[in-house]
């Protein structure tokens, strides 16, 4: 039983309460993330995924209803140290240019560590490591103007900036949406590297079911502000009717296996990734 680092229970949230523009974003959401796993949060647009994620590092704090416990800290409690929380929970947003603000790339990545008050050598070390892991060559990028970078380079710079804080939980809010396949696989490789080598726990918010099937161990499904399904990734994706009802598309591999099964091929159900599907088809053809 791994340690639970995120435990959200019964969370409610309304934007602009009491005004004519009030919108209910969350009405009874639960989320569980254990240390060392790669967890995914999925659901149709407007289901409340980004809202939920903003609770994890204290950008939003729970009101009367619901409880958010991150690293054993209740974020709703007034004495909760948000700065410390934000060092342990690194949140990467979808659009990198919203996160970058220093004139030079090196300074931007170094911002987090400097805020923590680290020594100059330590800061340099962290920046080097972070840029390395994120795929930006330290020497050539450290003195570049931040806003002269291409879109992909900016994304890596933003990621490096968060990594330099050495968070224990890395949350990626739609960080691969709009990326080409190569960019996406780079990010995936990065996630695994971070989990193995740096011991980070990862939470991805994604609309891409194939990505979730390939990368995640645990999945939580959100629908209109409520958690409707949660659990191990194979189990969740096996519930096809429920998922369709909630507006969630299944991974392509799972669809193929299902259709093949419907047409009479004796494939074992339950495959969700391309590799698993290939294996299942192979097995069925061998019979």
């Amino acid at each position: 039983m791994s340690e639970e680092i995120v435990s959200v229970q019964g969370l409610h949230h309304t934007y602009l309460p009491g005004t004519p523009l009030a919108t209910i974003a969350l009405c009874g959401t639960d989320l569980l993330v254990r240390r060392g796993e790669i967890a995914a949060l999925i659901g149709p647009s407007g289901a409340g995924k980004s809202t939920l994620v903003h609770f994890l590092n204290g950008l939003l704090r729970p009101g009367a209803r619901g409880q958010v416990i991150v690293f054993d800290q209740d974020t709703g409690a007034p004495e909760c140290d948000l700065t410390a929380l934000r060092q342990r929970v690194g949140l990467v947003f979808q659009y990198p240019h919203q996160q970058l603000f220093e004139r030079y790339v090196g300074d931007d990545v170094a911002y987090g560590p400097r805020q923590l008050g680290l020594a100059r050598e330590e800061v340099r070390e962290r920046v080097r490591w972070a840029m390395d892991v994120a795929g930006l060559d330290f020497e050539s990028f450290v003195d570049r103007h931040t806003f002269s970078l291409s879109g992909g380079e900016m994304r890596r710079a933003a990621l490096a900036g968060v990594l330099a804080m050495r968070p224990e939980l890395l949350v990626l809010d739609e960080a691969t949406t709009g990326l080409d396949p190569r960019g996406r696989s780079e990010v995936h490789a990065l996630l695994h590297h971070l989990r193995e080598k740096a011991g980070m726990t990862i939470l991805i918010v994604s609309n891409d079911m194939d990505e979730v099937a390939e990368q995640a161990d645990q999945v939580t499904v959100l629908h209109e502000g409520r958690t409707v399904l949660a659990g191990e990734v194979h189990k969740v994706f096996a519930q096809r009717e429920l998922l369709h009802r909630y507006g969630v598309v299944c991974p392509v591999a799972a669809d193929i296996i299902y259709d093949l099964g419907e047409r009479g091929l004796p494939v074992a159900s339950g495959a969700i990734t391309v590799a698993e599907a290939g294996e299942a088809i192979w097995q069925a053809m061998m019979l």
Binding site: L16, L21, Y111, L116
Partner: protein, 284 residues
């Protein structure tokens, strides 16, 4: 910056359709009338005409079927400051007003000076303030943003004769209004992203001047960069559509003036005249 949501739903006087007479007026007429009323309000510095204008404004608000109470409610956040300023002005300003008139000292005790002139100045200033505030809120609540820019362009068109680029100015306004909510969302996202990286949220004390400035610069630079990129896209889009300014440009919505519109302008102009007359009359 705890309320990130508020930035997204910025309202400068939200348009509230009630179908009243004022809503249906041509925006050009409304703008001209507004200008007249503002002029009248500036001129008025006696009890009689300042209060008269205020009364008329309130009647206009009633006519538009909007809620007077909610208009005043939007002033609530700044009320305390306004009240403090009012009391300071009342207690310490002992000078003479521009329009002269009788000036009796009511209280003269140490640093406190209260004279009838200062009382008058205070009351008139506040009447003017209320009038102006209600007028502008009235305008923005009864006219949609696109109607406003159309109106502005229409009003500025005669100025083409003296080479004032009226269309371009109105277009600037239209673009600004169009991008205001978008940039608001951007700013909100920027603040969230920066807060997530440990940028301190709480307002620092005033003495850490340079730190505060750096903080502000950090917040503002991504906003400008984002706006700049959007500008580049928009420029390209307009070029691709062969936009060439106001000359020879036709419009989708053409508003023909009704009697009510001419009447509105007439009313506006006569109010200015009235204010002028009252100003130099013997009324207080």
């Amino acid at each position: 910056m705890a309320s990130y949501d508020a930035l997204r739903h910025l309202t400068i006087g939200q348009y509230i359709p009630t179908g009243s007479l004022i809503h249906r007026l041509d925006p050009r007429a409304k703008l001209v009338a507004l200008a007249c009323l503002i002029a009248a309000s500036v001129v008025a510095s006696k009890y009689s005409n300042a209060l008269l204008l205020l009364l008329l404004t309130i009647m206009l608000v009633k006519l538009s079927r909007l809620s007077l109470r909610s208009m005043l409610a939007s002033l609530a956040p700044v009320m305390p400051v306004l009240l403090i300023m009012a009391s300071l002005q009342l207690l310490f300003y002992g000078g003479v007003t521009r329009s002269g008139g009788p000036n009796r000292l009511l209280v003269d005790w140490g640093p406190l000076h209260i004279s009838t002139a200062s009382v008058r100045v205070i009351i008139i200033t506040w009447a003017r303030f209320a009038t102006l505030f209600l007028l502008i809120t009235l305008l923005t609540s009864t006219t949609t943003a696109s109607a406003l820019t159309r109106g502005l362009e229409g009003v500025l068109r005669p100025l083409n004769i003296i080479r004032v680029p009226g269309h371009e100015i109105a277009m600037v306004g239209a673009i600004a209004l169009r991008f205001l909510p978008i940039l608001g969302e951007q700013l909100e996202a920027i603040l969230q992203a920066q807060a997530s990286r440990g940028v301190s949220e709480t307002r620092q004390s005033r003495w850490r001047f340079l730190a505060n400035t750096r903080r502000m610069a950090q917040m503002v630079v991504p906003l400008f960069v984002d706006a700049y990129h959007r500008a580049e896209e928009l420029i390209l889009a307009m070029q691709a559509r062969c936009y060439h300014g106001g000359r020879g440009r036709t419009y989708l919505v053409v508003s023909t003036p009704h009697v009510s519109d001419y009447l509105t302008v007439l009313v506006g102009v006569s109010l200015v005249a009235l204010a002028g007359v009252l100003q130099y009359s013997i009324l207080p």
